[in-house]
């Protein structure tokens, strides 16, 4: 079997924050604190969780928008977390990104033509000026924007159209993996559906792998193959779509799913209402990080941190209640 396209091993990213008088005392935000997963070619893995759980930091670490504190990021068998700039440049072509805000992620001074041509030139993908033109126009066809729009600037487009430009720019580099960081969250319902459908079409057309970072669980269920649920810098559960949505095992995953309001009036639901807020990632709780809000907490949770354990062939859960679950649940 060929190695996975992307492998992340025990990734950690701690951001220093200054505190105390004159900022002399240094503390850390444990944004991502030991996260491991793999993405296969053509696969969609979704990272879900609430604000501050570290899901965007994971995405940025993979893009190497900053250096990581510890761990490994391996793209197609090659480590990229410590790669030299020259090697990194070639690796960057293979991993592209679509950001949440289509207003601030496009340069307002550039024409669409130049926005799309930049990555093609940068990575030397076009053989000639004609080839560049062919590539740029076919990108517009791919994301279903009119070719005439190439000479316009971002402000002339609506939010949904700008997001199409952002996707075209990501595709221009012919990547194998696209990190979608809340890529559809800022869009209106009807436009969101257009972009979700486009992403799905592109995935099957180009065999793209997607790291889909989102807090919208219904969209995630619609798009994804596998899901990793994050809480305070850790993955608490990772499993294929069917397991996550049919038989979530971690108490946090259950609460998260039950909290989503369904568009069905009178639907009988019993949401698990979690108490309180997510604790600060500066001083995460000892033991299980979820123990301060967990409805099923017991003594061991407060002192010992649970590790991810296989509870099924592809389902992994970090919860003391799952201790020995493989034996009992067969």
């Amino acid at each position: 079997m060929s190695p996975p396209l992307l492998q992340v091993n025990d990734l950690k990213k701690h951001f220093p924050v200054k505190s105390g008088l004159f900022g002399r005392k240094s503390e850390f935000v444990y944004a991502v604190d030991g996260v491991s997963f793999e993405i296969a070619r053509g696969e969609t893995l979704s990272l879900v969780g609430e604000s501050g759980c570290g899901k965007s930091t994971v995405g940025r670490a993979i893009l190497r928008l900053f250096d990581i504190t510890a761990g490994q990021v391996i793209l197609d068998g090659q480590r990229i977390d410590d790669a030299h700039p020259g090697t990194m440049r070639q690796m960057r072509r293979r991993v592209q990104v679509v950001f949440q805000d289509p207003f601030s992620s496009l340069n307002p001074r550039m024409r669409v033509r130049d926005i799309l041509a930049e990555p093609i030139r940068n990575f030397g993908l076009a053989k000639s000026a004609e080839d560049l033109e062919v590539r740029v126009t076919s990108l517009m066809d791919t994301v279903r924007l009119p070719r005439e729009a190439l000479n316009r600037r971002p402000h002339e487009f609506s939010g949904g159209q700008r997001q199409r430009i952002g996707i075209a720019r990501a595709l221009a580099a012919e990547p194998e993996l696209i990190v979608c960081d809340e890529a559809v969250s800022a869009l209106d319902v009807s436009v969101k559906a257009q972009i979700v459908n486009l992403l799905q079409d592109l995935q099957s057309e180009f065999g793209l792998a997607l790291l889909f970072i989102s807090h919208d669980l219904a969209i995630v269920e619609h798009m994804t193959h596998r899901v990793a649920v994050m809480y305070l810098g850790k993955i608490v559960e990772i499993a294929p779509r069917r397991e996550i949505f049919a038989a979530p095992r971690h108490p946090y995953t259950r609460a998260l799913l039950s909290a989503v309001p369904l568009p069905e009036p009178g639907a009988q639901r019993n949401p698990i209402i979690l108490k309180g807020d997510v604790p600060s990632p500066i001083n995460p709780p000892k033991g299980c990080r979820f123990h301060t809000r967990c409805p099923l907490v017991f003594d061991r949770c407060r002192v010992e941190e649970p590790v991810l354990r296989a509870t099924g062939t592809e389902q992994w859960v970090a919860c003391h209640l799952e201790d020995g679950a493989v034996a009992t649940s067969g």
């Binding site: 159209q161 319902v189 969101k192 807090h215 219904a218 269920e221 619609h222 069917r242 369904l262 568009p263």
Partner: protein, 329 residues
Amino acid sequence: MALLEVDNLQTHFRTPGGINRAVDGVSFHVNEGETLAIVGESGCGKSVTSMSLMRLIPEPPGRIAGAIRFAGRDLLQLSDREMRAIRGNDISMIFQEPMTSLNPVLTVGRQIRETLMIHQGLDKQAAEAHAVEMLTLVGIPEPKRRVREYPHQLSGGMRQRVMIAIALACNPKLLIADEPTTALDVTIQAQILKLMLDLKRRVGAAIILITHDLGVVAEIAERVMVMYAGRKVEEAPVAELFRSPRHPYTQGLLGAVPRLGSSLTGTARRLAEIPGQVPDLRKPITGCVFAGRCALATDLCRQYAPGLEEKGPRHVAACHYAAKGAVAA
């Protein structure tokens, strides 16, 4: 009797590019103790409608016309002074952004006290005691300590609870909630929605809920009004609207949201797209506002704007082609 009756509301803004008809002839009512949801996408005029009800539209460049009758009085005819006595007292509002709608340099307690002292004439001690009570009511732990804290010391969910406490302090008859949970995480949203449902039962205020989230609508609304491009295109009781939407736009909206659990029940399907985009409201629109994006549109739609027609019991839609209600009848 209707608590609030809005008749042909028109809120227009003068802009360099022409007059923006943000709300263009919208009529609706809210009964006492009822929850009406106004849904639609960005720019449909739902927030401008709610700001118009509170007369929070700057004039100029804005201009509000029509009638807004609240408990028998037309709010648009009141003096600024009379309007101030109603805002925060009889009608109050919760905004989307709990980060920016509280004053960062005043304690939470002072901000709750303010409404009570102005509208109810309480003295400082009585208002302080009531503020603590309100914080308890909205489920904030250690309310006696929290009243002395500043907004930055509270989390997003707590701030939204404080906003609700301020809004409910004077026992309003009508509460306008503009995207009250949109900025919140899903587990916090669940807390706030539960709180709103509990409070509604206890306080009995009518609620106008402005949102784009159809899940939230299904959860707490009794009646729904759908807006598109500044007009009302459909209105119905909530179960009826979700079961048999009549306007093609409403049908499109409901088809565009994936349902949680769809991968399990085998109902997963490609999401319905509504092609194109919302029309430019600065240009006069002849005919149906949705004609440019509607699969059923004909020349009739492009020439004559459809009026709101009864399609079923308490169910109206503005469409030439929407079927009349055999389903519900």
